[in-house]
């Protein structure tokens, strides 16, 4: 309870004083219960104004301050500092907004002055009930977790590590590199993908500040910004990482050699049960695929495991078990990337009917000189060189029945393929591109499109309705809107550019991470324009294609942005916690969990207390938005600085 309130009113030049009678307001304030002094100044936010407040606090021994001025959005923060400097708790300050809510909104001076009085009356009523609040400090664990080792995760990890902070990089698959490692060359510059990626992967492997946890998954996260406790499952590789030299002898020896479809080669190539996904893998260690290995699935591998026999380093260890490790970090960068839509769902395009209908990513593996065909372009059905290749763009993209968004890389990857295929198969190879719109928006992209137009490419502006198998060929009927004619394309190989979608496990993952997905399934940013890297959870950032489809340069840029945002937090020893947050009145809470569902920051959890459960607000996560307070049906949820018992008298006095 406060009973020595100082009242200060600002003229704001003439912004306020031309419409509100300052003298009258000052006189009025003096009559209010609790107000001991009433002062005005032309610019209260100036040094002179600030000193006036500070001096008055000391002189009159004030315990609380009301300032009638502009919106609290403008100067509340400044004035809190001023009051604090004067010796009063920063939260014993109440602002009556008589500019935006009064002088600017009205013309009649008498009425405006009356309204200003009402606002001041309310502010004073609340000021009497204000309580001192302490801003608590949170210690920051100066380490970062990066989830996903694609180009985005690699870039973020390197940037944070370079800032001098420790980084754990958790990658689900046996090697880092992500989709970019699967690509041959990259548009629009045609840089060799592995030539620019491998050095970065090596840097990750060798950086003293980076600890790589490959073949690992994040299975639980607790805590909040500054202090996250992360559980990671290191899946058993059945190969001793310290002993394995990466020689690959076991891969050659394995009984299942060339029998298992290779994920890295998009199913076009085959691998063994013990494998390294690609020759430049980081770490360059073998992994046994427990779902296929004969010994691990049947308990017996012929007369004995050939891999063990082949391994001179004695690295194979079938007794290895999954391991759980705990990491403590201050911030998290999520960079889990994307999947391609499985074109089987658009059955009309024949992906499941013919081996010669492939995806753009499969084509990347065919083009790649380190791919399953060592860069030879063949028809998967018979191994022959195709004479005609036809691309269908926007497969499942921009489609109300599949994915409503644009994949943003489909057009460019098809154009890139034209260049690479002509290089390999000669400029006269027939390449047809069925497009709806060519989207070449990036730097140098339109110029690249022009180059491809000059390379004897058949562009059809239209979309096929289906792809048919007719004998040894595939046929496509396409209505071309540039010539207004229907064409039949007889072709050897059809390449579909499928939509980009969020990872299959994205939904489970958002639960672990307490972040949200947008309607399209990608991770949701805190603000599409102004906070595109932040999530609603403090200290968790998103980068690369897990946020939305994008090309490599955008993924890298976003990753560097995320790293900067993360390092920003890590470079502080402590963080200030917002004191104007919610808390639960335990006597009133019925445990109905309504508040949980409205909190965008996942700051509320239900805790069991005997047979009763109750809401509990995580102080580090709550942003003080107040949504839970208004939602709580029992009035149990309250917010510091805005308690019902502080607001009610204010409202009663105002209206």
């Amino acid at each position: 309870m406060s009973n020595k309130i100082g009242f200060f009113v600002c003229h704001c030049g003439i912004n306020i004083s031309s419409t509100v009678d300052i003298k009258e307001l000052m006189e009025y304030a003096k009559t209010l219960d609790g107000v001991v002094i009433s002062k005005d100044y032309k610019y209260m936010c100036s040094d002179v104004g600030a000193n006036l407040i500070k001096d008055s606090i000391k002189k009159h021994n004030l315990d609380s301050v009301v300032i009638a001025c502009c919106s609290p959005r403008m100067h509340e923060h400044t004035f809190r500092g001023v009051v604090e400097a004067g010796g009063v708790n920063a939260f014993n300050l109440e602002i009556a907004n008589i500019r935006e809510q009064c002088s600017w909104a009205h013309e009649n001076k008498n009425l405006a002055t009356e309204k200003a009085k009402a606002l001041v009356r309310g502010a004073v009523a609340k000021a009497k009930l204000l309580e001192s609040l302490e801003t608590s400090k949170i210690k920051v664990t100066p380490k970062a977790l990066v989830i996903g080792g694609g180009i985005a995760g690699i870039q973020a990890a390197l940037d944070i590590a370079e800032e001098g902070h420790k980084v754990y990089l958790v990658e689900k698959s046996p090697s880092i590199g992500g989709r970019m490692a699967q690509l041959d060359k990259t548009f629009p510059t045609l840089d060799c993908s592995s030539c620019i990626l491998t050095p970065k992967m090596m840097e990750v492997a060798n950086h003293p500040n980076i600890e790589l946890l490959s073949y690992s998954e994040v299975i639980g996260i607790e805590g909040s910004i500054g202090n996250y406790n992360v559980k990671v499952k290191k899946k058993a590789r059945f190969v001793d990482m310290d002993k394995c030299t990466g020689c690959g002898d076991c891969m050659v020896a394995c009984r299942l050699k060339d029998r298992i479809s290779s994920e890295f080669d998009e199913g076009i190539g085959k691998r063994s049960a013990i494998y390294m996904p690609f020759p430049q893998a980081v770490p360059l260690k073998c992994t046994i695929d427990a779902e296929n290995c004969l010994l691990l699935t049947r308990g017996k591998c012929g007369t004995g495991p050939l891999c063990v026999e082949a391994c001179d380093a004695d690295a194979i260890d079938f007794k290895q078990k999954d391991e759980e490790v705990e990491l403590n970090v201050g911030v998290i960068v999520v960079a889990t990337g994307y999947d391609l839509l499985d074109p089987t769902s658009l059955h009309e395009y024949g992906y499941s009917r013919s081996d010669d209908v492939i995806t753009t990513l499969e084509m990347e593996r065919l083009i790649s000189s380190s791919g399953p065909t060592t860069g030879e372009i063949i028809r998967p059905s018979n191994g022959e060189k195709p004479k005609s290749i036809t691309y269908v763009l926007c497969v499942g993209s921009r489609d109300e029945t599949e994915c409503t968004w644009c994949c943003r890389i489909g057009c460019m990857s098809a154009l890139k393929h034209v260049y690479l295929l002509k290089e390999k198969l000669g400029e006269d190879i027939e390449i047809n591109i069925c497009y709806t719109d060519i989207r070449s928006f990036g730097k140098g992209y339109e110029e690249f499109y022009r180059k491809i137009r000059g390379m004897k490419t058949n562009f059809f502006r239209g979309r096929p309705s289906e792809v048919r198998k007719s004998g040894d060929h595939l046929t496509i009927d396409i209505f071309d809107t540039t010539t207004n004619k229907l064409f039949e394309i007889k072709t050897d190989l059809v390449v579909l550019a499928p939509a980009l979608v969020s990872r299959a496990d994205a939904t489970d993952f958002t639960r672990i991470l307490r972040i949200s997905q947008s309607i399209d399934g990608f991770f949701l940013e805190a603000h599409p324009k102004l906070r595109p890297i932040d999530t609603f959870t403090g200290g968790v950032f998103i980068a690369g294609c897990c946020q939305s489809p994008k090309d490599i340069q955008d993924s890298v840029a976003q990753a560097s942005g995320a790293a900067a945002r993360a390092a920003n937090i890590l470079s502080k020893k402590e963080l200030e916690a917002e004191p104007l947050i919610s808390y639960v009145d335990e006597d009133l809470c019925s445990g109905c969990s309504t508040c949980l569902s409205v909190c965008a920051y996942n700051a509320i959890e239900l805790v069991k207390d005997g047979d009763k459960s109750q809401a509990k607000v995580n102080e580090a996560l709550c942003m003080g938005c107040g949504l839970c307070v208004v939602t709580c049906p029992s009035g149990a949820m309250q917010q510091h600085g805005y308690k019902d018992k502080q607001l009610r008298p204010m409202i009663e006095e105002t209206v």
């Binding site: 009309e348 926007c394 921009r398 489609d399 109300e400 029945t401 599949e402 709806t436 719109d437 502006r461 239209g462 979309r463 096929p464 309705s465 289906e466 009927d477 396409i478 209505f479 071309d480 809107t481 229907l486």
Partner: protein, 175 residues
């Protein structure tokens, strides 16, 4: 103000267009405005190769409001109702349903109904079915009726005057 097609001097019939869109949105959710002219419908149209129907163009003309041009053309009567265009449209536009609306409009405005449609309509009005029970011939040229084949008699609408009255009242209603 206004938009004129300088090849035919046809004007954009905005009101009619809105009427059709409203009808479509009531019957199947999506309206033609979402069409982005990918022409997937025409690429797969069963009637295109044979009879030059271009469903994407039908949608485009509707979007432009050039309704008369379509109502006066025989091409709207070439659709086979295969529903491929509706099934596969990435924007859930249904050219086939637009065609039904246009044909209905042509009929309502007194345009000649092609072929046997009038006969079918007459038959439905009088006996309830598009055609009456027939005797048919077998592979070895014998004639058979329903009763020859031990099939029960079929039961058409009993009170035919009432039935006819209802149908003629309905026929002037708008969907």
């Amino acid at each position: 103000m206004g938009i004129v097609d300088l090849t035919s001097m046809g004007e954009s019939q905005v009101k009619l267009r809105n009427e059709i869109n409203e009808r479509l949105s009531r019957l199947q959710d999506e309206i033609s405005d979402y069409c982005y002219q990918c022409a997937k419908c025409t690429s797969g149209c069963e009637a295109h190769k044979l009879l030059e129907l271009e469903p994407h163009k039908i949608v485009a003309l509707l979007k432009r409001g050039l309704i008369d041009e379509m109502i006066n053309s025989d091409v709207i009567w070439t659709c086979m109702s295969c529903f491929k265009c509706r099934e596969r449209c990435p924007q859930k536009v249904a050219p086939v349903e637009i065609l039904f609306a246009l044909k209905n409009m042509a009929v309502a405005s007194g345009k000649q109904i092609p072929g046997n449609y009038t006969a079918m309509l007459q038959s439905v009005l009088s006996i309830g079915l598009i055609q009456d029970v027939k005797s048919i011939t077998t592979r070895d040229n014998k004639t058979k009726s329903r009763s020859d084949l031990d099939l029960p008699e079929i039961s058409k609408p009993t009170d035919s005057t009432k039935f006819q009255m209802i149908l003629s009242k309905l026929a002037v209603e708008k969907v």
